[in-house]
């Protein structure tokens, strides 16, 4: 294997270097750097207003950083808007899920990227249903059928669908913005299982969570933000809750 190939293989999926973001006079994120590797779960923690969501929005192309660079697989990228980031294989699961309630699961799975066939480009519902079914089976998301309407699903099932959608389209990286904030115990466990499945499939995952228990259950590394400043990154196995809490609050 040549040197360049090895470099490519070991290059982080996502590399953020000295990211700086200001909204007018307010600094939201200051000098943030982070590497994210394939098959790794990094948790982003911090109090409200720490800049976590702003960071996610920069990676997903909603906001552009004021300065600093974002690289994917070692190549610098800049996203004009969210659809460009998507085209690069980055998927986001938003806190409010972004599912259309009156539509069936398979249509949500393919919303905006529907499968069409024939010269008239008519929807290929069968293919979409088949793929959706295969996907939810693979991730063990238990829904009545691919044709079930989102409205009829429970919170956990909806979250499962949202994550399954991200999984289907994400080639490299999934950003999860508080994916279990609205879920019960069993549903949360389910979502965590799915996230582990994704890691096993060698996808890089950045997860925002307010639950430190969850962060310690899932993550490989923890990155702490406080008021826009990157306090530090710890390996989950070599830290404990007390240290993370004091990093978040700045007390102790």
């Amino acid at each position: 294997m040549t040197a360049t190939n090895r470099d490519k293989a070991t290059a982080p999926v996502l590399e953020l270097k000295s990211i700086h973001k200001a909204f007018g006079g307010v600094v939201a994120v200051e000098d943030f750097s982070l590497d994210l590797h394939a098959g790794e779960i990094v948790a982003l923690v911090g109090d409200n207003g720490a800049g976590k969501s702003t960071l996610v929005k920069m990676i997903s192309g909603v906001h552009a950083p004021t300065s600093g660079s974002i690289s994917l697989d070692g190549e610098a990228v800049s996203f004009a808007d969210a659809s460009v980031a998507r085209a690069h294989g980055i998927e986001v699961v938003y806190q409010d899920l972004a599912l259309a309630d009156q539509q069936p699961v398979y249509m949500n799975m393919f919303l905006g990227r529907e499968t069409v066939r024939g010269p008239l480009k008519l929807l290929d519902r069968k293919a979409m249903m088949r793929e959706t079914q295969a996907l939810v089976d693979e991730l063990d998301v238990r829904i009545p059928s691919a044709k079930a309407v989102i409205r009829d699903l429970s919170g956990g099932q909806r979250q499962g669908v949202a994550i399954a959608r991200a999984t289907h389209w994400a080639k490299k990286l999934i950003l999860l913005d508080e994916p279990t904030a609205a879920l019960g115990v069993a549903e949360t466990a389910k979502v965590e299982d799915i996230v582990r499945t994704l890691r096993a499939r060698n996808i890089a995952i950045l997860i925002i969570s307010h639950s430190l228990d969850q962060v310690f259950r899932l993550s490989d590394r923890i990155c702490v933000l406080r008021r826009g400043v990157q306090i530090g990154v710890r390996e989950t196995a070599r830290t404990d809750k007390n240290e993370i809490v004091s990093m978040i609050t700045g007390v102790g």
Binding site: Q103, M107, G112, K121, L123, R142
Partner: protein
């Protein structure tokens, strides 16, 4: 350790919590949006068959009569349906009908322009106003109810103003002469399959006039272009909505605009295009009507916006968007037409039409909502 805990706890919880259930085909059939309108159509036909069977309502002329009226409703209902599924209303449809009609008559009769040019200009202006409606709704973030209510008044006022300053009247006649031999006017006026109906009459399958200046001609001499337009628009709208990517985007834009945007659906473009399509449908209605009557009047189309919305709602669409069916809206339009003309055939005082309509609207919506709730268990 904690991982093992959650794993052990999850299976029994799941069985209770995830509510995996099978949906029976019957339930699926019952939650279709068209349910209420199908019941309504059956009910209305049975009702009028019982009370107006001998009145000629179901003779060829009778059928043509209510078919034409239903087709009128259907043309504007298709536009209103797609727009409502996309999450918006257009209350300016009725005023648009009056406005487009006056534009056509004014250009072709008063200013003696070719009919085809007049029709194209009317379509262009109407769709431009549709675009403006959509643009204002998107840009200001105001409810479409308010924006299009403003255009209901603006367009009606402009229609009367234009008619009066150019001709000093509010009715412009003479359109039929101006349309004579025009290629585009023939697409909106006139009839097709006239040979077939002549053949039917020659073989005694339908009656011929026995006296008067049309003696010897069949009582029904063809399918009016208005009906052809209605069927064409219904098929187009249905296929667009259920078979294309764009149709899925219409559902998503009305169901949850934010979710659709996150998924990369061009929500603004979808909504603006649907406002333009509604304006297109209103102008088709106006053009057919002008060709049929041979005149345009400034008060045409009054209340049509609500009749379109009622057809759509009877057809099972949700006022909040994201749910509905073009076939349902077309059936709603059929109910409308049959009731309006049926009351006439049954000899009922015609002023009661609106009373019946209000009652049917209420019943259809209650039926739709009640059945859907009782089956899906929603509250």
């Amino acid at each position: 350790m904690s991982e093992a805990d959650t794993k052990a706890a999850s299976p029994p919880e799941e069985a209770k919590d995830e509510r995996v259930r099978q949906i029976s085909p019957l339930r699926k059939a019952l939650v279709r949006p068209e349910l209420g309108s199908i019941c309504g159509v059956i009910l209305v036909f049975v009702f009028f068959f019982l009370i107006a069977r001998d009145s000629g309502m179901f003779s060829p002329e009778g059928i043509q009569n209510w078919t034409v009226v239903s087709a009128q409703f259907a043309i504007i209902a298709v536009g209103a349906c797609l727009l409502m599924i996309a999450g918006e209303f257009d209350l300016s449809v009725g005023s648009m009908i009056g406005f487009s009609g006056i534009i056509i008559a004014m250009m072709s009769v008063t200013y003696e322009q070719p009919m085809w040019l007049s029709i194209i200009v009317a379509f262009a202006i109407a769709m431009g106003i549709g675009w403006l409606n959509g643009f204002l709704v998107i840009r200001t973030g105001l409810p479409s109810f308010i924006v299009t209510l403003a255009f209901l008044y603006i367009l009606r006022g402009l229609t009367i103003f234009l008619a009066r300053v150019t001709t000093n009247k509010t009715i412009i006649g003479g359109v039929r002469d101006a349309a004579e031999g025009d290629w585009l006017a023939a697409i909106f006026g006139g009839k097709i399959l006239t040979g077939f109906f002549q053949w039917l009459a020659d073989n005694g399958l339908i009656d011929k006039f026995v006296a008067g200046n049309r003696a010897g001609e069949p009582v029904v001499d063809g399918v009016p272009m208005l009906v052809v337009w209605a069927i064409g628009l219904i098929i187009f709208g249905h296929i667009l909505l259920t078979r294309t990517r764009f149709g899925n985007w219409i559902f998503a834009s009305g169901g949850d605009a934010q979710a659709a945007r996150y998924s990369g659906v061009p929500v603004n473009r979808v909504k603006i295009l649907m406002f333009m399509f509604t304006a297109f449908c209103a102008t088709v209605f106006a053009t057919c009507q002008v060709m049929e009557f041979g005149s345009a009047a400034a008060d045409r189309g009054v209340l049509k916006e609500f009749e379109a919305i009622i057809s759509v709602v009877i057809g099972g669409a949700l006022l909040t968007g994201g749910y509905g069916s073009v076939i349902g809206a077309a059936l709603g339009a059929l109910i409308f037409g049959v009731v309006q003309q049926g009351l006439f055939f049954a000899g009922v005082e015609s002023s009661l039409f609106r009373v019946f309509l209000g009652v049917i609207l209420l019943l259809a919506v209650i039926l739709n909502t009640y059945i859907r709730r009782s089956i899906t268990g929603e509250r």
